[in-house]
């Protein structure tokens, strides 16, 4: 087999590590121009300024909470729908699949005003639950697709095996399905948290300024010409999904039959 490791390492360094390093360097230094005659001026001022923002921590906690709720709802709906789609065959199934994917074909902003009126009627406007529900629109179709594919890969027969051996719904879910769905859960975690964190317009419309998330603090900073401050904020923004991903990974380790270091191996 061809060894692609050096290529992977090179691509990883050029497209992932290098930009991140540049961002880190920029956040820790004053703007520097080529041939300006000055050396790099190292300072922590941008991070100090960032921390001083009165809304930063509030927005971070709200974002984490909303992100987790969106993730949990995505996992529940995605797993149940994905399993149903791979287990049952019925008339009009391709139409149902297309319908479930349709929310990502229409820009959420196009329906945001209508949804806002709907949320007002339900009493969900300007609430965290309203924001969580609106964040489901651009994320749920991806989750359903990912879990549907994973269940199809597993195969119907492998799903029937634990049932035949005597496992009930939850035993089967936690001992066989979730451990085998681990790669799908990782993808959904990153995807939903990043999409949820990036929503500015629909969060502003449905949250009505009452629900403060990171983009709502971040976007006004865009007018700021201070590249160091922008870099610091970008790092802060990127740090949140990484921390949440690590937390989810720790939770996944608690699943039965996980390959953890303390599990017996040859």
């Amino acid at each position: 087999m061809k060894n692609n490791k050096p290529v992977f390492t090179a691509v990883g360094i050029v497209f992932f590590i290098a930009p991140l390093l540049l961002l880190l360097l920029q956040s820790l230094s004053a703007p520097w121009r080529f041939q300006s005659g000055y050396g790099v001026d190292w300072k922590l001022e941008s991070f100090r300024q960032l921390i001083r923002d009165p809304y930063l921590w509030e927005a971070t906690w709200w974002s984490i909470l909303i992100g987790f709720l969106v993730l949990v709802l995505n996992a529940v709906v995605g797993i149940l729908t994905g399993k149903a789609l791979s287990s049952y065959s019925f008339k009009g199934k391709p139409w149902v699949e297309a319908l479930l994917l349709s929310p990502i074909l229409i820009p959420v902003l196009a329906i945001a005003m209508g949804l806002h009126l709907f949320m007002i009627r339900l009493g969900l406007a300007d609430t965290m639950m309203g924001v969580v529900i609106i964040h489901l629109v651009p994320t749920i179709p991806y989750s359903i697709k990912i879990f549907h594919n994973s269940y199809q890969q597993m195969g119907k027969a492998l799903m029937e095996q634990p049932h035949i051996l005597g496992a009930g719904f939850f035993t089967q879910l936690f001992t066989v399905e979730l451990p085998l769905l681990r790669p799908a859960l990782r993808s959904v975690t990153f995807l939903t948290i990043v999409i949820s964190l990036s929503q500015y317009a629909i969060t502003a419309i449905i949250g009505g300024g009452q629900v403060l998330t990171l983009p709502m603090v971040f976007f006004p900073f865009l007018e700021n010409a201070n590249a160091s401050l922008m870099s610091a904020f970008s790092l802060w923004f990127a740090f949140v999904p990484v921390v949440m991903y690590i937390l989810v990974e720790v939770i996944l380790l608690l699943l039965p039959y996980s390959r953890v270091p303390w599990r017996n191996h040859r």
Binding site: Q161, P162, H163, I164, L165, G166, L180, N264
Partner: protein
């Protein structure tokens, strides 16, 4: 007196307009092993899925130890099913796979798992993952996993069909002895008649949604119920829908005239060897039927031959399905 473990009464299963199971009825005593043979697509797997609880029958009743379990879910039935593929859980080791069934059915003891691993010769590989063991080892592990739940009945759906012939031969005897030792009632589905004869105490020939005949291999061979059974068993020349003649009664000769015989003209198409004996594959000109006839080693054959059938050896199909 042995007790009835599994009893099926008038089971039917219909998919849209297809009647896959057509009023099946049979019963199995404790420890009895029945082989079900039939052509591909005849509905054998559907029968097992209905018995296991993975499919609901359209009509009919399933009793286990006298209790109606027709509406019971698969995980509540004391029945295990070993599929064509081993379907081991890839994230569990061999030992965890075997213990899984016992744990979920609340019959787990470490001693039992150790005994089963010993019985299938997998003690050495207990901490290996399924991807690290061979196909035969995987199938043995799948069998031990099914046995660990201590089911009243085990159903086998062509479990050896994906294995190579030498491995298949060894596993057949191993599984048969294992089931006999444990006194486990079993139904073994296959399309291979030889396998059916090795595995089952009795053989049920299944075609067109129903059993064409149920009986011991000897009974099926010596007095087949109808053309379908005779044709599936092999070993007979079917003369018409009423009569047949056992192949061993047929004589090959180069001249057509013999007293008290019915004679057919045939063409030798191939000579093959089976179990050390030459077999002539002959096409009968009149009917186009092809028959494999065992030859004596020193027999010299022309291309054109006559098949002489003593009239006294012509038999009629018995018509009834049970012994």
């Amino acid at each position: 007196m042995s007790s009835i473990t599994l009893e099926i009464k008038q089971i039917t299963k219909q998919f849209h307009s297809d009647l896959v199971l057509n009023g099946l009825s049979f019963q199995l005593q404790k420890g009895e092993i029945m082989s079900v043979v039939g052509p591909s697509g005849s509905g054998k797997t559907t029968l097992l899925r209905v018995l296991a609880g993975l499919e609901k029958p359209t009509n009919g009743t399933i009793y286990m130890n006298g209790r109606d379990v027709t509406k019971q879910k698969a995980n509540r039935r004391d029945i295990s099913l070993v599929f064509q593929q081993p379907l081991l859980f890839p994230h569990m080791s061999v030992e965890e796979n075997v213990a899984y069934g016992a744990k979920v059915s609340k019959k787990y003891t470490q001693e039992k798992v150790d005994t089963l691993l010993e019985a299938i010769g997998m003690t050495k590989y207990r901490s290996h993952f399924p991807s690290e063991i061979s196909g035969g080892q995987q199938q043995r592990t799948a069998l031990a996993r099914a046995m660990a739940t201590e089911p009243e009945v085990i159903l086998f759906d062509e479990p050896f069909s994906s294995l190579d012939p030498s491995l298949r031969q060894g596993l057949r005897y191993w599984v048969r002895n294992f089931l006999v030792e444990q006194e486990t009632t079993a139904i073994f589905v296959t399309h291979d008649m030889e396998e059916a004869m090795i595995m089952g105490d009795q053989i049920a020939v299944f075609q067109e949604g129903k059993f064409q005949q149920i009986g011991a291999a000897k009974v099926l061979h010596e007095s087949p119920a109808n053309m379908k059974v005779a044709s599936f068993m092999g070993g007979h020349l079917i003369l018409n829908d009423q009569e047949y003649v056992p192949l061993q009664a047929i004589e090959l000769s180069s001249s057509p005239f013999k007293e008290d015989t019915q004679t057919f003209e045939g063409t030798v198409e191939h000579i093959t060897y089976q179990h050390g004996r030459p077999i002539a594959h002959i096409e009968i000109k009149e009917s186009g039927a092809k028959v494999p006839l065992p030859l004596t080693n020193d027999e010299q054959l022309q291309n054109e031959v006559f098949l002489s059938i003593p009239v006294s050896s012509i038999q009629r199909f018995r018509g009834t399905i049970d012994e």
